[in-house]
């Protein structure tokens, strides 16, 4: 299946071996969108890489430029002003909702609930508009900076964010009725694509698929960065380990994200939102880890005292998660492939880099 199959949502290929209708072997093939971003970064200055990091994932570009800035701040040993941290947290949670809604739209369309596609894409606009007011663009924001964010929040941002959260929470209840009331959607989800807890941990699966397998590990809680320790929210996990659990984890995460946005915009202190970062990175290494909407995003940077990084390694959550595809697919029917692979929220931009 692929690279042109409509369920792939990006360019990748899945080779499956079948015995009748049952899958006996599967292997994903990646690399169609490889742009060599790690190599490109070695020829750019530290600030020039921020827009490049945005291009890693079209679904949640802000988390990637945020992660990049976090990594370089770790390398340079910078303290970011508190206001900037709150602006970042509010923005990346909006991005998380927008990303999950885009996943839900694609997933709903795949599983034959086309109304779900229209609804979720409509409501995603609410958060895209907020991010546009904040940063000026709709998909690739170029908003975080090394040492803060590009600019302060626009007027009425708090009011608009609170309104958007209230709207979203109402809509999420509506989605629950829409999807869980749909027999087709539930039949294609429940008990499909089971990935046992031990296997999920060993195969390096992270993010919502891991939490849906019963491992309650969320980097925002368990290795907190930014101002997450000061905010009150829950890490969501489910024990069922099937596609329905992955759907449910993401839905509940959106509710938690609304809670975080609400607290972040209200608690935001006054003050500076950016400090000046040095042009040259020191000799040494830095790491950054964030909870991307798709899993554990991580970067490792090696500096050598010049304005350009010596090496930047990017860990893509989906690249590792999709390597577990075989274990999820074997034993199920061909028709389940769409639900199982769709439930992982594939983003080829970051997987192929």
């Amino acid at each position: 299946m692929g690279p042109q199959h409509p369920m792939t949502h990006g360019l990748w290929n899945l080779r499956i071996k079948v015995d009748g209708e049952t899958i006996v072997d599967a292997e994903p093939e990646m690399g169609y969108l490889h742009r060599g971003i790690e190599k490109l970064c070695e020829n750019r200055t530290y600030t020039q890489i921020i827009p490049l990091a945005d291009r890693l994932c079209y679904g949640s570009s802000l988390t990637w430029s945020h992660l990049y800035c976090l990594t370089v701040e770790d390398l340079m040993g910078l303290e970011v002003p508190e206001r900037a941290e709150y602006i970042r947290v509010a923005a990346i949670e909006m991005q998380r909702i927008a990303s999950h809604l885009m996943w839900l739209a694609a997933y709903a369309a795949d599983l034959g609930t086309l109304a779900g596609f229209i609804y979720t894409m409509r409501d995603r606009e609410v958060f895209i508009d907020l991010l546009q007011a904040l940063s000026g663009s709709r998909l690739t924001y170029n908003f975080p900076r090394i040492g803060g964010v590009a600019h302060d929040v626009p007027p009425n941002f708090e009011r608009d964010s609170l309104r958007a959260c209230t709207y979203m929470e109402k809509k999420l209840d509506e989605y629950d009725q829409l999807f869980e009331g749909s027999k087709v959607f539930m039949m294609r989800n429940e008990g499909v694509g089971i990935l046992k807890k031990e296997l999920a941990m060993n195969l390096g699966v992270t993010g919502p698929p891991l939490r849906a397998s019963g491992v309650n590990y969320d980097l925002r809680k368990d290795q907190p960065y930014s101002v997450y320790p000061e905010l009150d929210f829950q890490a969501i996990s489910m024990p069922d380990a099937d596609c329905y659990a992955r759907y449910k984890v993401r839905m509940d995460e959106m509710r938690e994200s609304c809670k975080i946005i609400r607290q972040a915009v209200q608690k935001m202190p006054k003050g500076k939102w950016r400090i000046v970062a040095p042009r040259n990175g020191p000799v040494g290494t830095g790491i950054g880890r964030v909870e991307d909407p798709r899993g554990e995003g991580m970067m490792y940077v090696v500096g050598n005292g010049t304005p350009k990084p010596y090496r930047l390694k990017i860990r893509s959550p989906i690249f590792v998660t999709v390597s577990a595809a075989k274990q999820m697919l074997v034993g199920y029917k061909v028709a389940d492939v769409v639900a199982i692979m769709g439930g992982l929220d594939m983003c080829i931009g970051e997987a192929d880099r």
Binding site: M30, G31, H34, G36, E38, K39, L199, M201, N202, L203, G204, V205, T206, G214, V215, N216, Y217, K221, D222, Q223, Q234, A235, I236, S237, M238, P239, K248, D252, I287, R289, E296, M298, Y300, V302, Y310, R311, K313, R315, F319, V320, S323, A324, D352, R353
Partner: protein, 168 residues
Amino acid sequence: MMEQRGSGTPAGAIEKAPSKVGEMSEERVIRALLDAFPTAVTDYKKLKAGVLRARIERRELYRCCQFLRERLGFEHVSMISAVEYDDRFEIVYHITCYGSCLLLELITQTPKDDPSVDSVSSVWGGANWQERESFDLMGIKFNNHPKLERILLPSDYLYHPLRKDFKG
């Protein structure tokens, strides 16, 4: 104690070691590593809370990783990165422990003329594709890897583009 997290899940369905670092602190991990591999582990250091770094000799890497997973509970290899320096290759393993939320940065180095280490993909399945990626882009050979083939670039490609002597 573990607080009840998550919604709609029956109590006790999700067990998880309490995420307090006190269970197994950075110092205890380093001491356990030093006891098991007194000569191979060098240059150990606590970088910040929850993150530590150690260097390991190449020949002990596989046994060390097995020890980390089976004895110390490091269940997840987050990232494998290969870095080329003027005189050596460094392969950096970032290994996570879900129970105590520690991150271990394990560095091993290989000479320029023999860039090969033992594969750890039989210890952590998640290492499989990451090792293939390092092989593809940096040309590191992983011994005993189940399928060491190119993954991002076409299979007939001749170069390893992340090396510093590669000119595009």
